[in-house]
Symmetry: C2
Subunit: 164 residues, 2 copies
């Protein structure tokens, strides 16, 4: 049995207990979009106390801002009414342990070619949060940037620290 088979089995139990009366609208109730790292140790719902219907949650390796996060945030604000953006990076991030050149070399060795994208790894966590905030504020496609704030989640303590 593969892991995905087990997850599908878990879903049967979830669906059996599903509250069919509870149908939140597609517009996030808290009008906030979270952009967080994909890290397995970070569950944004638990970390900031979100529940179903509250927020858009966008995640990738590092919680960085590329064109695809701008796309998602533009859709979130223009089509679904969110107004605040909360970035969550974290301590002990895998993106701190590899350089763009190292990862490109690894891919070249294993895949026979270098990727067309930058690895988006970083050496300074706070600087990377500031860079992510800057990328959002610079984008002409994100209309509401008064409340774009960045945080570092401490994997060892569960605590968020704001980067100012």
């Amino acid at each position: 049995m593969s892991v995905i088979d087990e997850l599908v089995k878990n879903n049967e139990a979830f669906a059996a207990g599903f509250d069919h009366e509870r149908q939140p609208p597609s517009q996030p109730a808290r009008r906030v979009a979270i952009v967080a790292c994909m890290d397995a140790r970070l569950d944004p719902y638990e970390v900031v106390g979100l529940t179903i219907g509250d927020a858009h949650v966008i995640r990738n390796a590092g919680g960085v801002i590329t064109d695809d996060e701008i796309r998602s945030l533009a859709i979130s604000q223009h089509l679904l009414g969110t107004e605040e953006i909360m970035l969550i990076h974290h301590t002990d991030c895998g993106m701190l342990n590899v350089s763009n050149e190292e990862f490109h070399q690894l891919l070249e060795a294993q895949a026979g070619q270098r990727p067309p994208w930058h690895t988006m790894s970083f050496s300074d966590l706070e600087e990377d949060v500031r860079d992510s905030i800057w990328r959002i504020k610079e984008s002409p496609f994100i209309p509401k940037t008064d409340s774009v704030r960045g945080f570092i989640y401490d994997i060892a303590t569960g605590r968020l620290e704001e980067v100012t």
Copy 2:
């Protein structure tokens, strides 16, 4: 008090109850990466019964595969040992309600320019899941593609249906 302020306050309660003894490794225990839509009504942890430390979770508008998801999946497999990929799209997705041309026109009207990226909206949910699977399998940078499977989450019933 902004919504982000409230979420930071929620985090204080979370951190106060944080189990400092429980430190899962950065490698996902279930060796699986989930790629899901950012939709506020879809919490992948609940839907497939994941817990902290289990899986990478990658999310964007639609749960689609662009260069940034390939980047995240390449890092997930090459650097952090995941082997399976589970895609979760869903019914009533906002990406079904807008065309690329419509969204580009809206951005042109509000931002004065068209974005350099495609909106990645779609008109057929199952076809889009198949397209996403195909994009992963075609990529030279994702080494393990034997177990790439796509599902549609039914917002009204809580149930996952596999797209074959």
